[in-house]
């Protein structure tokens, strides 16, 4: 069983794999087995579909954004993951993993969170399924995302703040992994993005694929055609892989947008792939091999982004693979451009998007010449209520967004 686990763990080499302490090998092998069984289990799938419909509010709409599209000169469609219960796509995955944990008799789930969205989603799924929940979060994010911390606590979750390192998403993942290794038998780690050791990247992609499947069906119904381009922001890469998965075999250009922070040239960013030769090289962090922002000795570099959810030095191994094969293209958007895109969508379409999702919109704005007259599908991964204070601070500091 373990042999087969390891044989399946590598994506296209060298990416993926299982680089964990020995104590986590048995729980991961077990998790993979439970996941593979669930894939073909009609009752699991029926229960998940019901939760996605009645708790999460799926399917989410596909909006033709006419005013913004006209301004940009393209035919713009927004997949409204901001309308998923709790405000982001994260709940799709949290429900899948928590249901799996519950049906395997686990008592408790652990999660990490950056923006707080995955923490809230996991706390919500845990509450709905009667599981205990513990969410790990860097102290800097606890400050930036105070509202989400309060929501998690109201939902009955314990929030564990860690002040190691930069005290952001990376440290939250490390902290959650340490908690899991303490109690691997009655606990399951519910990871929030397409990261981590096998089978997590594959499992998260599976649970997020609903984004792409729905969007593909909706745009075909609406227009009779597929989009020319599908664009998503990439933190760990879960909303992007969920969107991309449905279009993998189509003639659709796939574009992932990373956090350009204060600008690639400043070195203060979280663009693992879009930063070219100064960017991420192959390395191992948190259990899998992918592209990683690191120094020559393999020490992980600090990252910078206005978006807590994109502020992470590595990304899911499937994205590293898609970039290498050329199937997807990766670009970046700076804090400033993301903020501008956020405000523009708010005023032209009446939707306040999450700053993460605003990076995807920003890249469409920056590359509007390239997309002129084309059909562009953007994953609007979340809503921006959680970012109100960050947005206000930046407007006050910058002055130029009147």
């Amino acid at each position: 069983m373990t042999d087969r686990y390891f044989r399946r763990s590598g994506l296209a080499r060298p990416f993926g794999g299982c680089f964990v302490a020995e104590t986590l090998v048995a729980p991961l092998v077990d998790l993979e087995r439970r996941f593979l069984e669930a894939l073909d289990d009609a009752s699991f799938n029926a229960q998940l579909d019901m939760l996605l419909r009645d708790l999460a509010g799926r399917p989410t709409p596909l909006l033709r954004a006419r005013r913004l599209g006209d301004a940009l000169g393209c035919e713009l469609y927004l997949k409204r993951e901001d309308l998923v219960h709790t405000g982001a796509h994260k709940l799709n995955n949290a429900l899948g993993q928590c249901l799996l944990a519950q049906r395997s008799g686990r008592r408790r789930v652990l999660a990490e969170t950056g923006a707080g969205q995955h923490g809230v989603a996991t706390a919500t799924a845990a509450a709905a399924l009667g599981l205990e929940c513990e969410v790990h979060m860097g102290t800097r994010d606890v400050e930036r995302q105070a509202t989400n911390v309060r929501r998690m606590e109201l939902l009955g979750a314990r929030v564990i703040a860690t002040d190691a390192g930069d005290a952001t998403l990376k440290e939250a993942v490390s902290s959650a992994l340490r908690a899991w290794v303490d109690d691997p038998d009655s606990t399951t780690y519910v990871i929030g993005s397409a990261l981590g050791p096998h089978p997590y990247p594959r499992m998260v992609a599976h649970f997020q694929r609903v984004i792409g499947d729905e969007a593909r069906r909706q745009i075909l119904e609406r227009t009779g055609a597929l989009p020319d381009v599908a664009v998503a922001c990439v933190g760990g890469g879960s909303n992007a892989i969920g969107l991309f998965s449905a279009f993998m075999d189509d003639a659709v250009e796939l574009v992932g947008v990373e956090a350009g922070g204060e600008g690639i040239e400043t070195g203060r960013h979280a663009a693992r792939m879009a930063s070219g030769s100064t960017g991420g090289v192959i390395g191992v962090l948190h259990g899998s091999r992918s592209r990683l922002l690191q120094d020559a000795d393999g020490q992980v570099r600090a990252t910078t982004s206005i978006s807590a959810g994109l502020d992470y030095p590595s990304l899911g191994p499937e994205h590293a693979d898609l970039e290498t094969s050329g199937r997807a293209r990766y670009t970046s958007a700076t804090d400033r451009l993301a903020l501008e895109a956020c405000l523009e969508l708010t005023r032209t379409e009446g939707i306040l998007p999450a700053l993460e999702s605003s990076h995807a919109l920003a890249s469409v704005r920056s590359e509007s010449a390239r997309y002129a007259g084309r059909r562009v599908l953007v994953c609007l991964s979340g809503r921006g209520d959680k970012d109100l204070s960050t947005i206000a601070e930046h407007i006050a500091a910058g002055g130029r967004h009147e």
């Binding site: 373990t2 042999d3 390891f6 794999g17 299982c18 680089f19 964990v20 302490a21 020995e22 104590t23 090998v25 048995a26 729980p27 190691a164 390192g165 990376k170 490390s174 992994l177 340490r178 290794v181 303490d182 109690d183 691997p184 038998d185 192959i282 390395g283 191992v284 962090l285 948190h286 259990g287 091999r289 990683l292 690191q294 020559a296 000795d297 393999g298 020490q299 992980v300």
Partner: protein
């Protein structure tokens, strides 16, 4: 045969050993670069003077997910002072040039010991005087590159056995280990105290049965002379890390000599308690 074999020769492994009820040999763990590279050389000399035969020398990593707070902070201190892979080499080479003869196992994470510098990095470590390699986040199934390189460089390899490792895997990982098998005394990260009870002893007996040809080390949460005494007859090597790192750090902070501090701390562990 590899450079860790002198350990094996000194401490015949296997049932014979355990049956004699010999007290395990103490293998201290220290984070390289904590207090600066020269301080680490001094600590190594102190450990040797105390009578230990081998040491685990930790290469600091920015994201040590298997470590508790004490070793996390030690690694962070080392990296903040600019400690690099080249400094790690320099520590070992300097210690060797000053006549140091401890068996040295470079201990760390896959990204810093294997990914960043690859086979060339392992060769550099071997030239500096490292005898073996242990990587906390590298299951033996992911270790084919390490095993190949170690074989040709004459370095010993160490693989880990956890309390939840299946019997079949125990045998396979013991086969892969050319240095020793490192049994984790419990779940969790480094640093927290471990109870040396019948559960642990049963686990060690299982690991021992699967790995009779290799030395068996135990670590995670061992802190005192009494801990080592209680492991008598159950393993060949006992690793003490966080407790030593913390002690040396405290002594350094109040201006004490680290060589003396390390010697004193390790000597107490090496000596059996008076019966």
């Amino acid at each position: 045969m590899n450079r860790l074999d002198h350990l094996t020769r000194q401490l015949e492994p296997g049932d014979g050993h355990a049956a004699h009820g010999r007290r395990p040999s103490v293998v201290p763990y220290v984070t390289a670069g904590d207090g600066g590279w020269r301080s680490t050389v001094e600590v190594l000399h102190g450990i040797e003077a105390a009578g230990a035969v081998a040491v685990e020398l930790g290469m600091p990593h920015s994201d040590p997910v298997a470590d508790g707070p004490i070793l996390q902070q030690a690694a962070a201190r080392a990296l903040r002072s600019g400690f690099s892979f080249a400094d790690f080499e320099r520590c070992v080479a300097q210690y060797r040039s000053e006549g140091g003869s401890l068996g040295i196992v470079a201990f760390g994470y896959a990204n810093v010991l294997l990914e960043a510098h690859g086979r060339a990095g392992l060769a550099r470590l071997e030239r500096a005087g490292v005898d073996g390699i242990a990587i906390a986040d590298l299951p033996f199934e992911e270790a084919s590159e390490l095993r190949e390189a170690a074989r040709s460089l004459d370095l010993g390899t160490v693989f880990f056995a956890a309390p939840n490792t299946s019997r079949a895997r125990l045998e396979a990982l013991a086969d892969a280990a050319t240095g020793f098998v490192y049994a984790l005394a419990r779940r969790g990260t480094t640093g927290r105290a471990t109870a040396i009870d019948s559960t642990l002893k049963d686990h060690l007996a299982l690991v021992r049965a699967a790995s009779s040809h290799t030395l068996l080390a135990v670590g995670f949460g061992l802190t005192s002379r009494a801990d080592i005494d209680r492991l008598r007859g159950h393993c060949d090597l006992a690793v003490v890390g966080s407790a030593l790192v913390e002690y040396v750090h405290r002594e350094r902070a109040i201006g004490r000599d680290v060589r003396t501090a390390a010697r004193r701390f390790v000597a107490r562990l090496v000596e059996p308690a008076p019966s």
